[in-house]
Symmetry: C2
Subunit: 294 residues, 2 copies
């Protein structure tokens, strides 16, 4: 087993946020590249670390829809590199190039950059474009869309869960369906990303059929669209009544496990504490840090 | 399919953060209860919404280890209700009681409150203790430990993944192992919470054996302990060399899928963009918002 670095961090991982770029080549500093998670989009859910990275950046690279989630004053005066959908590789290349030229560079990703985001691709492209490891890279995590959606629905993810993208652009459909079947049979709560697009209009119905073979028709299903962004909608339905046409690429679906139930209109997957644990006394402390009299 | 509320939000869900408590009973206001995610623990990853909820709270309830993650100045002057491990139900009851008495109450949960956190239990207890729905409840999401760990390791979660707790206190061991087997066979990246405790010292070895039946001995495994907290450690190893004795309840393990590989010391699960997509031109905008000459 290998420990990664003295600090326990892999090269370039820099949760302290300090500028750790070293001087090389008589003063020319190699660049830094931070892959910054934006969370669901609302600034109230943007971590201070992500905001600080954006504010200190010289170059910000991103899909234009995600760049639009950043307050304009944060981006003012910076070099912005924006691409459209499916410009993933170009965004990574542009960010790496900027970082190699010595600029403090940020590549933005919505939700958590590590969940179907840009973190993986940038490390792959970096291997190709920066084989000598000049560029320091840090991944700044964020609130993934699945957690934002779950919070709006109640507490559907309280037990083991599986996260599956229904997009078959990069994954064979057979693999996706095999994962859905396995997750349903093993009673995972199932989160579905990318349930439907204009061109992929039959997949969710197929998934519903597979899940319905092993799980009750009454299994709660939550649909959240644009979680914590403009146009947010939250719906709770069940497997039998799920209408795939009400979903799109901006929707996340959460399918309950066999224990998930509706409490006061919300989806809750119990973990068992309420039934199992005996009570233990709580300690109450007043504003001065002293225990209150019982 | 039912739409939950005019705003698309369930009762009590209040992402706007405004005080929506209504006047009843000639001025006595029913309480509000916010279940606040602390994220990994470092204030740099605490969302502004979580901080604002803590600052405006009159009563803050939590497990004492998690309360210690909150800056003392944020808690100063507030009533603090802290309990030890396994005081989950008591914390929920104390929070609900405080909210019912009209106090602005926060129940804290580390990571994301919706992932093995307090969100579900509080909704269960609320059903019992507040059947008339007086208390407004909001779940404030945060960065889950699995995403913090993934960011430190690289980008292991870029493809479909399963999250499984190995704690069999509340779940039969057979169910846990069934989920591990299903996730391994369907080629999910697998995140393991609670891999080992002093009393549960053989489970991770059993899990390793099950996964090793279907996945290569060389499958990358990442172990992160205390992600983004004091004492953080990050290790990358593989299935064959995984040493369960190096893990504990503060560790999260990430087991790669069949495509996960090590790039520059980091775990990366490719999604396929790098090979599949043709390049499309990026648009570069200077600080004034005008496209730069090519």
């Amino acid at each position: 087993m290998r420990s990664v670095g003295d600090s326990g961090l892999p090269r370039g991982a820099n949760p302290g946020g300090q500028d750790q770029r070293t001087e090389r080549d008589g003063g020319r500093r190699p660049g830094s590249l931070r892959v910054v998670s934006l969370g669901p989009g609302d600034p109230r859910y943007l971590a201070p670390e992500s905001l600080a990275a954006l504010e200190s950046a010289e170059v910000v690279v991103g899909y234009r829809t995600y760049l639009a989630l950043v307050a304009p004053e944060v981006l003012a005066g910076k070099t912005i590199v924006s691409t459209g959908m499916r410009g993933e590789v170009e965004r990574c290349e542009a960010a790496i190039e900027a970082a190699r030229s010595g600029k403090a560079t940020v590549l933005v990703s919505s939700g958590d950059a590590g969940v179907y985001g840009m973190a993986g691709l940038v490390l792959e492209v970096l291997e190709d474009r920066d084989p000598t490891g000049e560029v320091e890279v840090e991944i700044v995590p964020g609130i993934p869309a699945v957690c934002a959606a779950a919070a709006l629905l109640g507490a559907p993810l309280m037990h083991d869960f599986a996260v599956i993208s229904l997009s078959d652009l990069l994954t064979p459909w057979e693999s996706i369906l095999r994962r859905v079947r396995a997750a349903a049979e093993a009673d995972f709560v199932i989160a579905l990303y990318n349930p439907r697009s204009r061109k992929r209009d039959w997949q969710l119905e197929a998934v519903r059929e597979v899940i319905s073979c092993v799980r009750s028709r009454c299994t709660p299903v939550g649909i959240v669209r644009n979680a914590m962004r403009d146009g947010q909608t939250v719906e709770v339905t069940d497997l039998a009544r799920l209408d795939p046409s009400r979903t799109d690429m901006l929707s996340i679906l959460l399918v309950g496990n066999s224990s998930t139930r509706i409490i006061g209109g919300r989806m809750v997957t119990p973990r068992g504490y309420f039934d199992k644990y005996r009570r233990r006394p709580a300690k109450i402390i007043d504003g001065n840090g002293s225990p209150l009299p019982a």
